[in-house]
Symmetry: C2
Subunit: 237 residues, 2 copies
Protein backbone atom coordinates (compact mmCIF):
# COMPACT_ATOMS: atom_id res chain seq x y z
CA UNK A 1 0.00 0.00 0.00
CA UNK A 2 3.05 2.21 0.03
CA UNK A 3 2.99 4.94 -2.62
CA UNK A 4 6.52 5.89 -3.70
CA UNK A 5 5.28 8.82 -5.77
CA UNK A 6 4.82 11.02 -2.75
CA UNK A 7 8.19 10.06 -1.39
CA UNK A 8 9.88 11.08 -4.61
CA UNK A 9 7.90 14.22 -5.39
CA UNK A 10 8.27 15.64 -1.91
CA UNK A 11 11.48 16.43 -0.14
CA UNK A 12 13.41 14.01 2.03
CA UNK A 13 11.30 14.99 4.99
CA UNK A 14 9.00 12.67 6.86
CA UNK A 15 5.77 11.55 5.33
CA UNK A 16 3.41 13.35 7.64
CA UNK A 17 5.19 16.65 6.98
CA UNK A 18 4.77 16.15 3.25
CA UNK A 19 1.08 15.47 3.70
CA UNK A 20 0.77 18.46 6.01
CA UNK A 21 2.45 20.61 3.41
CA UNK A 22 -0.03 19.59 0.75
CA UNK A 23 -3.02 20.22 2.97
CA UNK A 24 -1.51 23.52 4.12
CA UNK A 25 -1.12 24.61 0.53
CA UNK A 26 -4.80 24.07 -0.11
CA UNK A 27 -5.76 26.01 2.97
CA UNK A 28 -3.34 28.89 2.52
CA UNK A 29 -4.20 29.31 -1.14
CA UNK A 30 -7.88 29.42 -0.33
CA UNK A 31 -8.63 26.30 -2.35
CA UNK A 32 -10.23 25.05 0.84
CA UNK A 33 -12.31 27.80 2.43
CA UNK A 34 -12.05 28.93 6.04
CA UNK A 35 -14.48 27.29 8.46
CA UNK A 36 -15.01 24.52 5.95
CA UNK A 37 -15.03 20.87 7.05
CA UNK A 38 -12.35 18.90 5.24
CA UNK A 39 -12.94 15.26 4.23
CA UNK A 40 -12.79 12.57 6.91
CA UNK A 41 -9.60 10.78 7.84
CA UNK A 42 -10.48 7.69 5.82
CA UNK A 43 -11.09 9.71 2.66
CA UNK A 44 -7.88 11.71 3.05
CA UNK A 45 -5.91 8.52 3.71
CA UNK A 46 -6.98 7.16 0.35
CA UNK A 47 -6.47 10.51 -1.33
CA UNK A 48 -2.85 10.74 -0.16
CA UNK A 49 -2.22 6.98 -0.11
CA UNK A 50 -0.92 7.05 3.45
CA UNK A 51 -1.90 5.33 6.65
CA UNK A 52 -4.17 6.91 9.22
CA UNK A 53 -1.13 7.35 11.46
CA UNK A 54 0.67 9.54 8.96
CA UNK A 55 -2.44 11.47 8.04
CA UNK A 56 -3.39 12.13 11.64
CA UNK A 57 0.12 13.35 12.43
CA UNK A 58 -0.20 15.76 9.51
CA UNK A 59 -3.50 17.05 10.81
CA UNK A 60 -2.04 17.41 14.29
CA UNK A 61 0.81 19.46 12.86
CA UNK A 62 -1.58 21.81 11.12
CA UNK A 63 -3.72 22.00 14.24
CA UNK A 64 -0.69 23.09 16.21
CA UNK A 65 -0.14 25.97 13.80
CA UNK A 66 -3.74 27.11 14.05
CA UNK A 67 -4.91 25.92 10.63
CA UNK A 68 -7.23 23.10 11.69
CA UNK A 69 -9.38 21.92 14.56
CA UNK A 70 -10.77 18.40 14.98
CA UNK A 71 -13.73 17.08 16.90
CA UNK A 72 -15.20 13.61 17.02
CA UNK A 73 -18.35 13.15 15.01
CA UNK A 74 -18.21 16.66 13.54
CA UNK A 75 -14.93 16.34 11.64
CA UNK A 76 -11.93 18.56 11.01
CA UNK A 77 -12.59 22.22 10.32
CA UNK A 78 -10.35 24.86 8.75
CA UNK A 79 -9.92 27.65 11.28
CA UNK A 80 -10.29 31.29 10.31
CA UNK A 81 -7.25 33.17 9.11
CA UNK A 82 -6.65 35.13 12.31
CA UNK A 83 -5.71 31.85 13.99
CA UNK A 84 -2.98 30.97 11.51
CA UNK A 85 0.40 31.47 13.12
CA UNK A 86 2.34 33.31 10.45
CA UNK A 87 5.17 33.72 12.95
CA UNK A 88 5.93 30.01 12.66
CA UNK A 89 8.89 29.43 10.37
CA UNK A 90 7.48 26.24 8.89
CA UNK A 91 4.13 27.80 8.11
CA UNK A 92 5.90 30.78 6.61
CA UNK A 93 7.85 28.42 4.41
CA UNK A 94 4.60 27.00 3.08
CA UNK A 95 3.26 30.50 2.49
CA UNK A 96 6.33 31.45 0.52
CA UNK A 97 5.99 28.33 -1.60
CA UNK A 98 2.65 29.60 -2.83
CA UNK A 99 4.53 32.17 -4.85
CA UNK A 100 2.53 35.30 -4.07
CA UNK A 101 5.66 36.75 -2.56
CA UNK A 102 6.06 40.42 -3.36
CA UNK A 103 3.12 41.05 -1.06
CA UNK A 104 4.48 38.80 1.68
CA UNK A 105 7.78 40.61 1.47
CA UNK A 106 6.09 43.98 1.93
CA UNK A 107 4.14 42.69 4.91
CA UNK A 108 7.33 41.30 6.41
CA UNK A 109 9.08 44.62 5.94
CA UNK A 110 6.30 46.30 7.88
CA UNK A 111 6.91 43.82 10.68
CA UNK A 112 10.65 44.40 10.64
CA UNK A 113 10.12 48.14 10.91
CA UNK A 114 8.20 47.61 14.10
CA UNK A 115 10.33 44.97 15.73
CA UNK A 116 13.94 45.39 14.60
CA UNK A 117 14.70 48.88 15.91
CA UNK A 118 13.46 47.84 19.35
CA UNK A 119 15.41 44.60 19.10
CA UNK A 120 18.56 46.52 18.29
CA UNK A 121 17.95 48.81 21.26
CA UNK A 122 17.42 45.84 23.57
CA UNK A 123 20.50 44.12 22.19
CA UNK A 124 22.55 47.22 22.94
CA UNK A 125 21.41 46.98 26.54
CA UNK A 126 21.38 43.23 27.09
CA UNK A 127 23.82 41.46 24.77
CA UNK A 128 26.12 39.15 26.68
CA UNK A 129 29.87 39.17 26.28
CA UNK A 130 29.76 36.10 24.09
CA UNK A 131 27.00 37.52 21.95
CA UNK A 132 29.06 40.66 21.42
CA UNK A 133 31.97 38.53 20.30
CA UNK A 134 29.74 36.68 17.84
CA UNK A 135 28.26 39.91 16.55
CA UNK A 136 31.71 41.36 16.14
CA UNK A 137 32.94 38.38 14.17
CA UNK A 138 29.84 38.42 12.01
CA UNK A 139 30.14 42.10 11.23
CA UNK A 140 33.73 41.66 10.17
CA UNK A 141 32.66 38.94 7.75
CA UNK A 142 29.96 41.30 6.58
CA UNK A 143 32.49 44.01 5.96
CA UNK A 144 34.65 41.60 3.99
CA UNK A 145 31.80 40.28 1.85
CA UNK A 146 30.61 43.78 1.08
CA UNK A 147 34.00 44.46 -0.48
CA UNK A 148 34.28 41.09 -2.25
CA UNK A 149 30.65 40.87 -3.12
CA UNK A 150 28.83 37.57 -3.56
CA UNK A 151 25.05 37.52 -3.44
CA UNK A 152 24.68 34.23 -1.58
CA UNK A 153 27.44 34.97 0.91
CA UNK A 154 25.97 38.39 1.56
CA UNK A 155 22.55 36.92 2.22
CA UNK A 156 24.03 34.48 4.71
CA UNK A 157 26.08 36.98 6.64
CA UNK A 158 23.32 39.60 6.53
CA UNK A 159 20.89 37.01 7.86
CA UNK A 160 23.30 35.96 10.60
CA UNK A 161 23.81 39.57 11.65
CA UNK A 162 20.14 40.32 12.14
CA UNK A 163 19.59 36.91 13.67
CA UNK A 164 22.20 37.66 16.29
CA UNK A 165 20.53 40.96 17.09
CA UNK A 166 17.31 39.15 17.92
CA UNK A 167 19.11 36.54 20.01
CA UNK A 168 20.99 39.28 21.88
CA UNK A 169 17.85 41.02 23.11
CA UNK A 170 17.60 38.69 26.09
CA UNK A 171 13.84 38.72 25.57
CA UNK A 172 12.05 35.42 24.96
CA UNK A 173 9.43 36.99 22.73
CA UNK A 174 12.04 38.35 20.34
CA UNK A 175 13.71 34.98 19.81
CA UNK A 176 11.18 33.53 17.32
CA UNK A 177 11.78 36.43 14.95
CA UNK A 178 15.26 35.08 14.39
CA UNK A 179 13.94 31.94 12.71
CA UNK A 180 11.23 33.78 10.84
CA UNK A 181 13.80 36.20 9.50
CA UNK A 182 16.10 33.36 8.44
CA UNK A 183 13.27 31.71 6.54
CA UNK A 184 12.50 34.93 4.74
CA UNK A 185 16.13 35.69 3.90
CA UNK A 186 16.73 32.24 2.50
CA UNK A 187 13.68 32.55 0.29
CA UNK A 188 14.44 36.03 -0.96
CA UNK A 189 18.00 35.94 -2.10
CA UNK A 190 19.11 39.32 -3.41
CA UNK A 191 16.48 41.04 -1.33
CA UNK A 192 19.00 43.80 -0.76
CA UNK A 193 21.85 42.77 -2.96
CA UNK A 194 21.20 44.80 -6.07
CA UNK A 195 24.20 46.51 -7.59
CA UNK A 196 26.25 46.24 -4.42
CA UNK A 197 23.63 47.91 -2.27
CA UNK A 198 24.76 46.10 0.86
CA UNK A 199 24.02 49.01 3.18
CA UNK A 200 27.26 48.28 4.97
CA UNK A 201 27.30 51.79 6.40
CA UNK A 202 23.92 51.37 8.04
CA UNK A 203 24.90 47.96 9.35
CA UNK A 204 28.08 49.41 10.78
CA UNK A 205 26.07 52.03 12.60
CA UNK A 206 23.84 49.35 14.17
CA UNK A 207 26.83 47.23 15.06
CA UNK A 208 28.75 50.10 16.65
CA UNK A 209 25.78 51.27 18.66
CA UNK A 210 25.10 47.81 20.05
CA UNK A 211 28.74 47.28 20.96
CA UNK A 212 28.76 50.69 22.63
CA UNK A 213 25.59 49.85 24.52
CA UNK A 214 23.81 52.87 23.06
CA UNK A 215 20.20 51.73 22.77
CA UNK A 216 18.82 54.90 21.22
CA UNK A 217 21.51 55.06 18.59
CA UNK A 218 21.01 51.38 17.73
CA UNK A 219 17.27 51.90 17.33
CA UNK A 220 17.72 54.87 15.02
CA UNK A 221 20.41 53.17 12.97
CA UNK A 222 18.18 50.16 12.40
CA UNK A 223 15.31 52.42 11.40
CA UNK A 224 17.57 54.07 8.83
CA UNK A 225 18.55 50.68 7.43
CA UNK A 226 14.94 49.61 6.97
CA UNK A 227 13.97 52.91 5.41
CA UNK A 228 16.82 52.46 2.94
CA UNK A 229 15.79 48.95 1.90
CA UNK A 230 12.20 50.09 1.76
CA UNK A 231 11.53 50.31 -1.94
CA UNK A 232 13.51 47.29 -3.08
CA UNK A 233 11.43 44.53 -4.62
CA UNK A 234 12.33 40.95 -3.86
CA UNK A 235 13.32 38.21 -6.23
CA UNK A 236 12.10 34.81 -5.24
CA UNK A 237 14.48 31.89 -5.59
Amino acid sequence: MHNPFIQISGSKRSLHVQVAREIARKILSGEVAQNEIIPSEMVLCEQFSVSRTALREAIKLLTSKGLLESKPKVGTRVKSRDNWNFLDAQLLDWVIDLGDNAFVYQEFLALRKAIEPEAAALAAQNATAQQRILLSATFQQMDYVSKNFDAKQWMEVDMEFHRLVFLSTGNSFYLPFANVLCTMFKSFISHSSEKGGTCIGEHRAIYSAIMAGDAEKAREANKRLLDTTNHRLPTSN
Copy 2:
Protein backbone atom coordinates in the same frame (compact mmCIF):
# COMPACT_ATOMS: atom_id res chain seq x y z
CA MET B 1 -3.99 -0.39 30.39
CA HIS B 2 -5.93 2.85 30.54
CA ASN B 3 -4.93 5.08 33.43
CA PRO B 4 -7.82 7.26 34.57
CA PHE B 5 -5.60 9.29 36.88
CA ILE B 6 -4.19 11.38 34.08
CA GLN B 7 -7.66 11.98 32.66
CA ILE B 8 -8.85 13.32 35.97
CA SER B 9 -5.81 15.32 36.97
CA GLY B 10 -5.46 17.03 33.62
CA SER B 11 -8.01 19.27 31.96
CA LYS B 12 -10.73 18.07 29.64
CA ARG B 13 -8.35 18.30 26.71
CA SER B 14 -7.15 15.40 24.68
CA LEU B 15 -4.65 12.97 26.05
CA HIS B 16 -1.72 13.85 23.84
CA VAL B 17 -2.07 17.53 24.75
CA GLN B 18 -1.91 16.65 28.42
CA VAL B 19 1.20 14.60 27.87
CA ALA B 20 2.71 17.37 25.75
CA ARG B 21 1.98 19.82 28.52
CA GLU B 22 3.82 17.72 31.08
CA ILE B 23 6.85 17.27 28.86
CA ALA B 24 6.79 20.96 27.95
CA ARG B 25 6.82 21.86 31.62
CA LYS B 26 9.97 19.86 32.17
CA ILE B 27 11.66 21.47 29.21
CA LEU B 28 10.58 25.04 29.88
CA SER B 29 11.49 24.81 33.56
CA GLY B 30 14.93 23.49 32.70
CA GLU B 31 14.32 20.22 34.49
CA VAL B 32 15.34 18.66 31.21
CA ALA B 33 18.37 20.44 29.79
CA GLN B 34 18.64 21.84 26.27
CA ASN B 35 20.23 19.53 23.71
CA GLU B 36 19.57 16.62 26.01
CA ILE B 37 18.16 13.36 24.67
CA ILE B 38 14.89 12.49 26.36
CA PRO B 39 13.98 8.86 27.12
CA SER B 40 12.81 6.65 24.27
CA GLU B 41 9.18 6.33 23.29
CA MET B 42 8.74 3.02 25.11
CA VAL B 43 10.07 4.43 28.36
CA LEU B 44 7.93 7.55 28.16
CA CYS B 45 4.86 5.47 27.33
CA GLU B 46 5.27 3.59 30.58
CA GLN B 47 6.13 6.75 32.48
CA PHE B 48 2.92 8.48 31.40
CA SER B 49 0.84 5.31 31.12
CA VAL B 50 -0.29 6.12 27.62
CA SER B 51 -0.08 4.37 24.28
CA ARG B 52 2.64 5.05 21.77
CA THR B 53 0.03 6.78 19.63
CA ALA B 54 -0.73 9.39 22.27
CA LEU B 55 2.89 9.83 23.24
CA ARG B 56 4.06 10.27 19.68
CA GLU B 57 1.35 12.85 19.02
CA ALA B 58 2.55 14.73 22.08
CA ILE B 59 6.12 14.68 20.80
CA LYS B 60 4.97 15.82 17.38
CA LEU B 61 3.15 18.74 18.99
CA LEU B 62 6.26 19.82 20.85
CA THR B 63 8.35 19.36 17.72
CA SER B 64 6.03 21.70 15.86
CA LYS B 65 6.63 24.38 18.47
CA GLY B 66 10.40 24.01 18.26
CA LEU B 67 10.95 22.23 21.57
CA LEU B 68 11.97 18.81 20.30
CA GLU B 69 13.52 17.06 17.33
CA SER B 70 13.40 13.33 16.64
CA LYS B 71 15.63 11.09 14.58
CA PRO B 72 15.64 7.33 14.20
CA LYS B 73 18.34 5.57 16.15
CA VAL B 74 19.51 8.76 17.89
CA GLY B 75 16.31 9.58 19.77
CA THR B 76 14.44 12.74 20.60
CA ARG B 77 16.51 15.77 21.52
CA VAL B 78 15.49 18.97 23.30
CA LYS B 79 16.24 21.86 20.97
CA SER B 80 18.02 24.97 22.18
CA ARG B 81 15.98 27.82 23.55
CA ASP B 82 16.26 30.06 20.48
CA ASN B 83 14.11 27.55 18.62
CA TRP B 84 11.21 27.67 21.07
CA ASN B 85 8.35 29.59 19.53
CA PHE B 86 7.26 31.85 22.35
CA LEU B 87 4.87 33.54 19.93
CA ASP B 88 2.69 30.44 19.97
CA ALA B 89 -0.29 30.93 22.26
CA GLN B 90 -0.29 27.35 23.50
CA LEU B 91 3.39 27.38 24.34
CA LEU B 92 2.95 30.72 26.05
CA ASP B 93 0.18 29.20 28.11
CA TRP B 94 2.58 26.51 29.29
CA VAL B 95 5.20 29.12 30.11
CA ILE B 96 2.72 31.10 32.19
CA ASP B 97 1.76 27.97 34.09
CA LEU B 98 5.31 27.70 35.35
CA GLY B 99 4.59 30.67 37.60
CA ASP B 100 7.69 32.79 37.00
CA ASN B 101 5.42 35.46 35.61
CA ALA B 102 6.53 38.93 36.65
CA PHE B 103 9.50 38.48 34.36
CA VAL B 104 7.40 37.14 31.50
CA TYR B 105 5.10 40.11 31.87
CA GLN B 106 7.99 42.55 31.61
CA GLU B 107 9.30 40.78 28.53
CA PHE B 108 5.86 40.89 26.99
CA LEU B 109 5.57 44.59 27.70
CA ALA B 110 8.83 45.14 25.84
CA LEU B 111 7.31 43.31 22.89
CA ARG B 112 4.10 45.33 23.03
CA LYS B 113 6.11 48.55 22.99
CA ALA B 114 7.69 47.51 19.74
CA ILE B 115 4.70 46.08 17.98
CA GLU B 116 1.56 47.82 19.19
CA PRO B 117 2.27 51.40 18.13
CA GLU B 118 3.03 50.20 14.61
CA ALA B 119 -0.05 47.98 14.68
CA ALA B 120 -2.18 50.96 15.66
CA ALA B 121 -0.66 53.00 12.84
CA LEU B 122 -1.34 50.23 10.32
CA ALA B 123 -4.85 49.81 11.64
CA ALA B 124 -5.50 53.50 11.12
CA GLN B 125 -4.50 53.07 7.50
CA ASN B 126 -5.97 49.67 6.71
CA ALA B 127 -8.94 48.87 8.94
CA THR B 128 -11.96 47.81 6.90
CA ALA B 129 -15.39 49.31 7.37
CA GLN B 130 -16.54 46.30 9.34
CA GLN B 131 -13.46 46.37 11.54
CA ARG B 132 -14.10 50.03 12.31
CA ILE B 133 -17.65 49.18 13.32
CA LEU B 134 -16.39 46.42 15.62
CA LEU B 135 -13.75 48.69 17.09
CA SER B 136 -16.31 51.37 17.66
CA ALA B 137 -18.67 49.02 19.44
CA THR B 138 -15.85 47.66 21.56
CA PHE B 139 -14.65 51.09 22.60
CA GLN B 140 -18.14 52.05 23.67
CA GLN B 141 -18.27 48.98 25.89
CA MET B 142 -14.86 49.95 27.17
CA ASP B 143 -16.09 53.41 28.02
CA TYR B 144 -19.06 51.94 29.85
CA VAL B 145 -17.02 49.45 31.85
CA SER B 146 -14.51 52.12 32.82
CA LYS B 147 -17.37 53.99 34.51
CA ASN B 148 -19.02 50.91 36.04
CA PHE B 149 -15.78 49.18 36.84
CA ASP B 150 -15.44 45.42 37.06
CA ALA B 151 -11.98 43.86 36.83
CA LYS B 152 -12.94 40.84 34.75
CA GLN B 153 -15.15 42.78 32.38
CA TRP B 154 -12.44 45.37 31.92
CA MET B 155 -9.88 42.71 31.11
CA GLU B 156 -12.19 41.23 28.48
CA VAL B 157 -13.03 44.48 26.76
CA ASP B 158 -9.46 45.75 26.99
CA MET B 159 -8.26 42.50 25.45
CA GLU B 160 -10.85 42.69 22.70
CA PHE B 161 -9.86 46.26 21.89
CA HIS B 162 -6.19 45.51 21.39
CA ARG B 163 -7.02 42.28 19.63
CA LEU B 164 -9.10 44.19 17.10
CA VAL B 165 -6.23 46.59 16.50
CA PHE B 166 -4.00 43.69 15.50
CA LEU B 167 -6.67 42.16 13.27
CA SER B 168 -7.25 45.54 11.63
CA THR B 169 -3.66 45.97 10.47
CA GLY B 170 -4.34 43.94 7.34
CA ASN B 171 -0.88 42.42 7.80
CA SER B 172 -0.57 38.63 8.16
CA PHE B 173 2.43 38.88 10.45
CA TYR B 174 0.55 41.01 12.96
CA LEU B 175 -2.33 38.57 13.29
CA PRO B 176 -0.64 36.06 15.62
CA PHE B 177 -0.06 38.79 18.20
CA ALA B 178 -3.80 38.92 18.71
CA ASN B 179 -3.88 35.41 20.14
CA VAL B 180 -0.67 35.87 22.11
CA LEU B 181 -2.06 39.02 23.65
CA CYS B 182 -5.33 37.30 24.56
CA THR B 183 -3.43 34.52 26.29
CA MET B 184 -1.45 37.03 28.31
CA PHE B 185 -4.48 39.13 29.24
CA LYS B 186 -6.45 36.11 30.43
CA SER B 187 -3.55 35.02 32.59
CA PHE B 188 -2.85 38.42 34.10
CA ILE B 189 -6.17 39.69 35.28
CA SER B 190 -5.82 43.13 36.83
CA HIS B 191 -2.68 43.79 34.85
CA SER B 192 -3.89 47.36 34.46
CA SER B 193 -6.97 47.40 36.62
CA GLU B 194 -5.57 48.81 39.84
CA LYS B 195 -7.65 51.48 41.51
CA GLY B 196 -9.62 52.26 38.39
CA GLY B 197 -6.52 52.88 36.30
CA THR B 198 -8.24 51.89 33.10
CA CYS B 199 -6.37 54.41 30.96
CA ILE B 200 -9.61 55.17 29.19
CA GLY B 201 -8.22 58.46 28.00
CA GLU B 202 -5.26 56.85 26.29
CA HIS B 203 -7.52 54.22 24.77
CA ARG B 204 -9.84 56.90 23.48
CA ALA B 205 -6.92 58.61 21.81
CA ILE B 206 -5.93 55.39 20.04
CA TYR B 207 -9.51 54.71 19.06
CA SER B 208 -10.09 58.19 17.69
CA ALA B 209 -6.86 58.22 15.72
CA ILE B 210 -7.63 54.87 14.09
CA MET B 211 -11.16 55.92 13.20
CA ALA B 212 -9.79 59.15 11.75
CA GLY B 213 -7.20 57.23 9.77
CA ASP B 214 -4.39 59.18 11.40
CA ALA B 215 -1.52 56.68 11.57
CA GLU B 216 0.99 58.91 13.29
CA LYS B 217 -1.46 59.97 15.98
CA ALA B 218 -2.47 56.35 16.58
CA ARG B 219 1.14 55.30 16.95
CA GLU B 220 1.91 58.04 19.45
CA ALA B 221 -1.26 57.41 21.44
CA ASN B 222 -0.45 53.72 21.77
CA LYS B 223 3.09 54.58 22.88
CA ARG B 224 1.65 56.82 25.59
CA LEU B 225 -0.63 54.02 26.77
CA LEU B 226 2.22 51.56 27.09
CA ASP B 227 4.43 54.08 28.87
CA THR B 228 1.61 54.64 31.33
CA THR B 229 1.11 50.96 32.12
CA ASN B 230 4.84 50.55 32.28
CA HIS B 231 5.51 50.20 35.98
CA ARG B 232 2.48 48.15 36.95
CA LEU B 233 3.24 44.72 38.27
CA PRO B 234 0.99 41.85 37.27
CA THR B 235 -1.03 39.58 39.48
CA SER B 236 -1.30 36.04 38.23
CA ASN B 237 -4.67 34.34 38.40
